[in-house]
Amino acid sequence: MSLLHTVNKSPFSKDTLLNCLAICQAKHSVLLIEDGVYGALKSSPCREQIEQLSAMGVRFFALSADVSARGIDENLIADVTLASDQDFVNLVVKNNVTQSWY
């Protein structure tokens, strides 16, 4: 079954994203929101896991408004796709269920 994870904490200071990635599987999607978007930085402590999981079929997104707010648009991992608020709604609709990590 498809599962959407949202994560709103920075992996530079909290283990929230790491805990999410630990149980991610192919067909899951991960949407980084709020301070969670720092997880999409090239310098992210989770970069390696994100790239490995991405290669295994996990899809990664970062909420565009939160990325722009924090001034990090230019420094994101290539495997992470920017998502609008409408994309967020579509992700919720297309996945069977959503787990919010905060």
Partner: protein
């Protein structure tokens, strides 16, 4: 699709209610049916009629009220969480002999069971926490 959301963060202090509102607004404008927003934990402060943010900042309570009016959304505030945090309607104010109430118009105080009811009656439920 029928959606509900749960909001656990207070306006201003946390970004959770901002994210929740933007999600709610996008869902409604896309034609989905947002049946309930359930305010729990610090989320109950979204319903305060006494919050006066500076004019150039987000007017959270009014924004929820306007969205609810336009799209016919239940704005439900958990009674136990609200009483602990000083959000009361007229009925509770009378019951506890308080001099005033501060629940914004359009918000309804109800039991915690309404959160589960939202999960049961909606096809999708999303939580916004801090």
């Amino acid at each position: 699709m029928k959606l509900s959301i749960a909001v656990y963060g207070a306006p201003h202090s946390s970004e959770a209610s901002e994210s929740a509102y933007r999600f709610a607004s996008a869902a409604c404008s896309m034609g989905h049916s947002l049946i309930r927003v359930f305010f729990y934990h610090d989320g109950v402060h979204n319903a305060s009629s006494l919050a006066i943010p500076p004019q150039d900042e987000t007017q959270t309570t009014q924004r929820w009220q306007a969205l609810a009016l336009e799209f016919n959304i239940d704005l439900v505030v958990c009674v136990a969480a609200a009483l602990r945090r000083g959000i009361v309607n007229t009925e509770e104010a009378e019951r506890y002999d308080l001099e005033s109430q501060n629940l914004g118009k359009g918000f309804e105080i109800s039991g915690l069971g309404q959160l589960l009811d939202a999960a049961v009656s909606s096809e999708r439920l999303v939580s916004f926490g801090h």
